[in-house]
């Protein structure tokens, strides 16, 4: 804008006619107004108003410079900022919810893994009983076969074992040898071997199972006990509430077979 444009403007004070050319110029009037200080009504009034102006100026400058940007913000700006904050809160809430879900999921899955591990351990113990890798105890019977005539053959002991298995025996030990799935009998009367280990009379079967099933199974007519007694062997069966079988077998890893369920 040019100076001429400014000159064309008139303020409220310019509404009056231009002053007649006087001896006093504007600069002289300004100097006269400033020095020496004179307490006139005009000066006082202007001083009061300028005091108010200075006060407002200082307050505004201070409130703009210090404090947050929110202080001088307009209503619509505040509403916009509030909206943004709300949006952000919403987003953060969503994220928090997502993370909480994720944590719950992870905890659940670790719980499941723990449960699976427990089941695996339990299964291992059950299989260990069958495989003879763990010691077991429980109710059962003790079957003693004394053989003064050395007439008890390996096949008779095998029959006895089959009978016991058929009657529900869960764990069997013969003279300190744990009986497992691949147990075999060999040798002749008086020199019977179980799994290659020589055993001598009396042959003691320590059996864990239901005694009420095991004992009758042995004593049925024409059964194991009668067959053995025909060979001059003496058979003694004793029930017990707690039989301990602590003969163990090493866990053997099969060379060729692999589980197909994995």
């Amino acid at each position: 804008m040019s100076n001429d444009a400014f000159d064309a403007e008139h303020d409220e004070h310019g509404g009056q006619a231009e002053p007649a050319p006087e001896e006093q110029t504007g600069r002289q009037r300004l100097i006269a107004g400033i020095w020496p200080p004179r307490v006139t009504r005009a000066q006082l009034i202007v001083a009061v108003l300028l005091f108010v102006l200075g006060l407002g100026l200082a307050i505004q400058v201070r409130s703009n410079s210090d404090n947050s940007a929110l202080r001088g913000a307009r209503q619509e700006d505040l509403v916009r900022i509030l909206d943004e904050v709300d949006d952000r809160t919403q987003r953060l809430e969503d994220e928090k919810q997502r993370l909480v879900d994720q944590r719950t999921e992870l905890e659940n899955s670790s719980d499941q893994a723990e449960e699976a591990r427990k089941q695996t351990v339990e299964k291992e113990r059950q299989l260990g009983i069958l495989a003879g890798t763990v010691a077991v105890h429980g109710p059962g019977i003790t079957l003693s076969i004394s053989d003064p005539a050395d007439a008890v053959q390996a096949d008779m002991l095998l029959d006895t074992l089959q009978e016991l298995r058929a009657a529900g025996a869960e764990a069997i030990e013969i003279n300190g040898v744990r009986v497992v799935a691949n147990t075999y009998f060999s040798g002749d009367g008086g020199a019977v071997k179980v799994d290659g280990r020589k055993i001598t009379a009396p042959y003691v079967f320590t059996v864990i199972g239901k005694p009420q099933d095991l004992e009758p199974a042995l004593n049925i007519p024409g059964g194991v006990v009668q067959t053995l007694e025909k060979e001059q062997a003496t058979v003694h069966v004793a029930r017990s509430d707690d039989i301990v079988i602590d003969a163990l077998r090493p866990a053997e890893r099969p060379d060729y077979s692999r589980s197909s369920t994995q």
Binding site: F6, H13, G14, I34, R38, Q43, G54, I59, R62
Partner: protein, 110 residues
């Protein structure tokens, strides 16, 4: 001189006392300050022109402040507060410039 002292004292008091401005007045304070500045520059020019009348100055000062605040208030109510306050500031700025030009002519004769 007394007037200049008044301005200085006002600024100092405002900085030292740190008065709390009521929340109702707060949005209108900046625009009111600009309007008051316009009145002061007008008054200064009138003084240099030799036509200064204290009564006119008081009325123009107060009416400037009130009208500026009123316009912004109205603008806020109409939902165009930001635009209207910008407009007011522009108009007052032009007036301040034109008055400053007149003052400059008197003081520097250029």
């Amino acid at each position: 001189m007394i007037a200049v002292l008044g301005l200085v004292v006002g600024v100092v008091v405002g900085l030292l006392v740190r008065p709390e401005v009521p929340a109702v007045v707060e949005p209108y304070l900046p625009i009111a300050v600009v309007a008051a500045l316009d009145a002061v520059f007008g008054g200064l020019r009138a003084m240099l022109d030799g036509i200064f009348v204290d009564k006119v100055f008081v009325v123009s000062f107060l009416s400037n402040v009130v009208v500026a605040a009123l316009i912004v208030f109205l603008g806020d109510k109409l939902g165009v507060g930001a635009q209207l306050s910008t407009g007011v500031v522009v108009v007052l700025g032009i007036r301040i410039f034109s008055n400053a030009a007149a003052i400059r002519r008197h003081v520097f004769r250029a």
